[in-house]
């Protein structure tokens, strides 16, 4: 917390936490099964805006293209999500669960799932009524959004370092290899940017 205490006024810190929390929430949505309740024109325009504000010009243009083809965009993203993260032929599925990468024989609901779930609860959070296990990438990003919103940056860092990055690095490589839609390539790179350790 030292940096925040000395470098930033509390107002700035509030704003920064708020924005970062929204960014995490946004990233979690990119890892959620695309449905029209959230994935609409406004969502994609915001995505473009976010990328532009980062200076990711090329990526912004890639997402911009999706807006122009918005008729078929949702269908295509659903197909790509299913292919990448649920079931696919050929062997291109990249399961978005920490335990698959961390627990030896590629299982769901492994020890890592339990550790991650415990971390949420030890911080005063839990998963409400989800069909997905607690270590689904979507939930991990939602948790980060929730904890950052409360400016609990130490816990954020601990979580990212010990429970998120170790599997995400392997997940990222596989997604970048298997993904055919720029949307997922950009999203994974963006998640990487917001969670990677400072060089």
């Amino acid at each position: 917390m030292a940096i925040h205490d000395t470098d930033l006024s509390s107002e700035n810190l509030d704003e920064e936490a708020h924005t970062l929390s929204d960014v995490y929430s946004f990233l979690s949505l990119t890892m959620r099964y695309p449905n029209p309740e959230f994935l609409d024109r406004q969502f994609l325009e915001t995505y473009v805006l976010l990328l532009k504000s980062l200076g990711w010009q090329e990526e912004a243009e890639q997402i911009q293209l999706l807006i122009f083809s918005s008729e078929s965009c949702l269908d295509e993203l659903q197909l790509e999500y299913t292919r990448l993260f649920i079931n696919a032929i050929p062997k291109s599925t990249v399961p978005p669960y920490a335990s698959v990468y961390m627990d030896g024989d590629g299982t769901l609901q492994g020890k890592t799932t339990e550790k991650i779930h415990d971390f949420y609860r030890n911080c005063g959070f839990d998963i409400a009524d989800s069909s997905e296990p607690p270590d689904h990438i979507q939930h991990q990003l939602e948790f980060l959004a929730a904890i950052v919103k409360e400016k609990r940056f130490d816990e954020e860092e601990q979580f990212v370092k010990t429970l998120f990055r170790p599997w995400f690095k392997r997940f990222k490589e596989q997604v970048l290899r298997e993904a055919r839609q720029d949307y997922y390539i950009v999203s994974i790179q963006l998640i990487d940017f917001f969670t990677k350790e400072e060089q």
Partner: protein
């Protein structure tokens, strides 16, 4: 250190301001699944709960289980200590149920295929869309062509409720269960034609003096309480006779191993029976009292001398004589095992009839060590879909052979041929529920042809098996660890122990994951949408099981309190049923122009350069069902082909060589396997485990591991009485790859 500099510098830049407001707006549209909850201090103790009521279905023996569950997560499966069947023992597959439950490749959400059948491109859809589509398509097919236009391929406990809906209420007779038409249907129907009831595997092995097996390879075939009976019998000094072209695990424990020529078992059985009759070594009093048509039978099998059988079966006369005498000396306390998977050569009804007759000749019904059906609990209620008014138009009415002794349903090939040719009527809708017809039904090309001409194909399964590649809509079902359905009943495993009965309804050990649903829910939702809502017999799975249990004054809650298994005093199973009639000669068979007495029908022998393809079980797998299981595949991930050592030498093959297989029709295996060189198999046959070599890449562990033996079974054999397949009449040669 908290926020990384790169990220921090971004968050502090002015440019973020432009994005921050829209960001807040879009993220507000979707609710987070992570919510505030009471703080749980780190290191809080989490107890492991023992959850009772599990009933295994890694195979279909259905051992009773408990689950060790921590924080909603199943961490270990054990035998239920209260069980008087499997007891605390479960097999490797039972243990590995955890890996099935949490296999990332399992089906999680309903999906539609926007690609081609066989080359699917999946899109996750809502249950609403999936159910609406299934109902609309199936209803449309029934309206256009009649209910017969639906073909149903079910398997397993959860498939009963849906297939009865389609069969009884919608009205299609075109149901083909693999457990009947590609497995034990022949056995059941042959025993019905001989002793008027299906036999199960009801021989009193623990207390027998001689156990006689044809093809049974216990130890490789692991059904826990069955194996306990077998091993107790051996421990108690039973003699073991094993008839098998291969030196199986059972053969290795046998007193007599009969390495018979494949396909000729009935000839041997007839010779044994003829020998017993001619030498008056059979139980004449018993036959007098319970037999029908003995004279015709005895007369009809006279030609089967030991010498004739010895030539046909390629075994010594002395060995057949030894077997016959061993059985006679120990009669009636001998166990003539009826077998289980018996769809071998297309002449199997006759062999099964012969086994039942041999049991009768030896007087081995109802006696210690003989054929003794357990007396299990009675009184469970039945839940069934009402029969509609539609009178089914059966394909057997159009067939040259009426398959009068067919097990329930319609012979698979009649359905498949009708679908392919459109004659005598079209079959345009297909419902596959828990079965994998690609790896159960011989001649995959024809099965695929059948599927390709359908207007609609719906599959329900727990995992992406080969058949699911051909689905238009694919529905994810709860596994046996996540649902209620079957009620397992029975008695203590050894009749020598105190007589007890048990009732064990399957209960879930954990909540279903993802959007998996149970078969009752899925069926009811489809039924409602097809317009059969008023016929729904039960509203959900719990109601169904409770209704059934109400017949014996029990409920799920009560049995859960009792530890998942209800025990009650049992009944002595010994004694001959006074209604027992053994039809040595069966008039109904005569009336239908089938052989009225057990008759040997020869099958083709291997052409020069080829060997008969035999298959069987791995102790670590239940055929294809377990092919993606991480633990089981770590222990056994291929199916080496057994080749006789002399043959291997002549072919220049060495143990461990990699080969592909080519059958008599020129069909090549898609994958390769290794050679196991052994003196423990006849020269005219090769052997491998069935169920390997999955073609579906979605099974990331099981895909292309070993060779798919079913792909090489292209030549069809159909048992004339039952319409069931014979699947050991194909021949292969081996081609060395490396």
């Amino acid at each position: 250190m908290a926020i990384h500099l790169s990220r921090r510098s971004f968050l502090k830049t002015a440019s973020i301001a432009a994005a921050s407001v829209p960001l807040s707006k879009v993220v507000a549209k979707a609710e987070s699944d992570v919510v505030k909850a009471p703080l749980v201090p780190p290191g809080s103790f989490k107890d492991t709960q023992t959850v009772v009521g599990g009933v295994c279905e890694m195979c279909f023996w259905r051992c009773q289980l408990v689950g060790k569950v921590r924080d909603g997560r199943l961490v270990k499966i054990e035998g239920n200590p209260k069980s008087i069947d499997n007891g605390v023992s479960i097999c490797a597959r039972g243990n590995a149920g955890v890996k099935m439950l949490y296999d990332p490749d399992r089906l999680k959400y309903p999906m539609k295929n926007v690609g081609k059948r066989g080359e699917p491109k999946w899109q996750r859809i809502t249950w609403e869309e999936a159910l609406d589509t299934c109902a609309e398509k199936l209803k449309g097919i029934v309206e256009e062509h009649g209910p017969e236009a639906l073909a149903i391929f079910p398997h397993g406990a959860s498939a009963s409720y849906p297939f009865h809906f389609f069969e009884h209420t919608v009205g299609t007779p075109n149901v083909s269960e693999a457990s009947f038409f590609q497995c034990r249907g022949i056995r059941d129907m042959a025993y019905v034609a001989t002793i008027e009831k299906p036999p199960g595997e009801n021989v009193d092995m623990p207390n027998t003096k001689v156990l006689f097996l044809i093809g049974g390879h216990f130890g490789e075939n692991v059904h826990v309480s069955h194996l306990k009976r077998y091993l107790k019998g051996l421990e108690n000094g039973a003699k073991l006779i094993v008839v098998d072209p291969r030196f199986s695990a059972s053969a290795s424990k046998a007193d007599v191993w009969v390495p018979i020529r494949p396909g000729t078992d009935t000839a041997m059985l007839l010779a044994i029976m003829n020998y017993l009759i001619e030498n008056e070594l059979y139980d004449a009093d018993f036959v007098d009292e319970y037999g029908e048509g003995f004279e015709e039978f005895a007369e009809g099998i006279k030609e089967w001398t030991l010498a004739k059988a010895a030539i046909e079966c390629d075994i010594p006369v002395a060995q057949i004589k030894q077997v016959a005498e061993m059985l006679a000396e120990n009669a009636p306390n001998v166990a003539i095992h009826p077998g289980r998977h018996v769809s071998w050569y297309g002449n199997d009804f006759q062999r099964q009839r012969a086994l039942a007759c041999l049991t009768g000749l030896l007087g081995a019904f109802g006696v210690k060590g003989g054929f003794v059906p357990p007396k299990g609990p009675k009184g469970l209620k039945k839940v069934s879909w009402p029969h509609g008014e539609h009178e089914a138009d059966r394909l057997t009415e159009y067939s040259d052979n009426p398959y009068t002794f067919s097990p329930p349903g319609t012979p698979t090939d009649l359905i498949r041929d009708a679908a392919i040719t459109g004659k005598p009527y079209p079959i345009k809708g297909c419902v596959v529920w828990g079965q994998n017809p690609i790896q159960t039904i011989p001649n995959q090309e024809k099965t695929i042809q059948m599927l390709q001409q359908m207007d609609f194909v719906m599959c329900t399964d727990i995992q992406p098996t080969d058949i699911t590649m051909f689905a238009d809509i694919l529905l994810p079902e709860c596994s046996y660890l996540e649902r209620y359905d079957y009620i397992k009943t029975g008695t203590q495993w050894n009749f020598a122990d105190e007589h007890q009965q048990y009732i064990a309804p399957r209960m879930p050990l954990v909540e279903p994951g993802f959007e998996r649903k149970d078969g009752i829910w899925i069926t009811n939702e489809i039924a409602k949408r097809m317009g059969y809502g008023e016929h729904i017999p039960v509203k959900d799975q719990v109601e169904m099981v409770n209704y059934r249990l109400s017949g014996v004054g029990l409920s799920l809650d009560k049995i859960r309190e009792e530890g998942g298994i209800h025990l009650q005093p049992g009944v002595d199973p010994y004694g001959v049923d006074e209604d027992l009639t053994i039809h040595f000669y069966n008039e109904d068979l005569e009336d239908e122009d089938y052989p009225p007495i057990p008759t040997y029908i020869p099958v083709d022998r291997a052409p020069a350069g080829y060997m008969r393809l035999l298959y069987g079980r791995s102790p670590l797998h239940t055929f294809n069902r377990t092919q993606n299981n991480a633990w089981l595949m770590a222990a056994n991930d291929s199916n080496p082909v057994w080749v006789n050592d002399k043959v291997a030498e002549a072919l220049g093959l060495q143990d461990g060589d990699t080969v592909k297989l080519i059958n008599q029709d020129g069909v090549e295996s898609r994958t390769t396997t290794t050679v196991k060189v052994t003196p423990g198999i006849r020269k005219d046959a090769v052997y491998m485990y069935h169920g390997f070599g999955s073609r579906n890449p979605e099974l990331t562990i099981g895909h292309n591991k070993g060779v798919d033996d079913t792909s090489l079974i292209t030549r069809l054999a159909v048992d004339p009485e039952t319409g069931c397949h014979g699947m050991r009449n194909n021949f292969v040669k081996l081609v060395k790859v490396s």
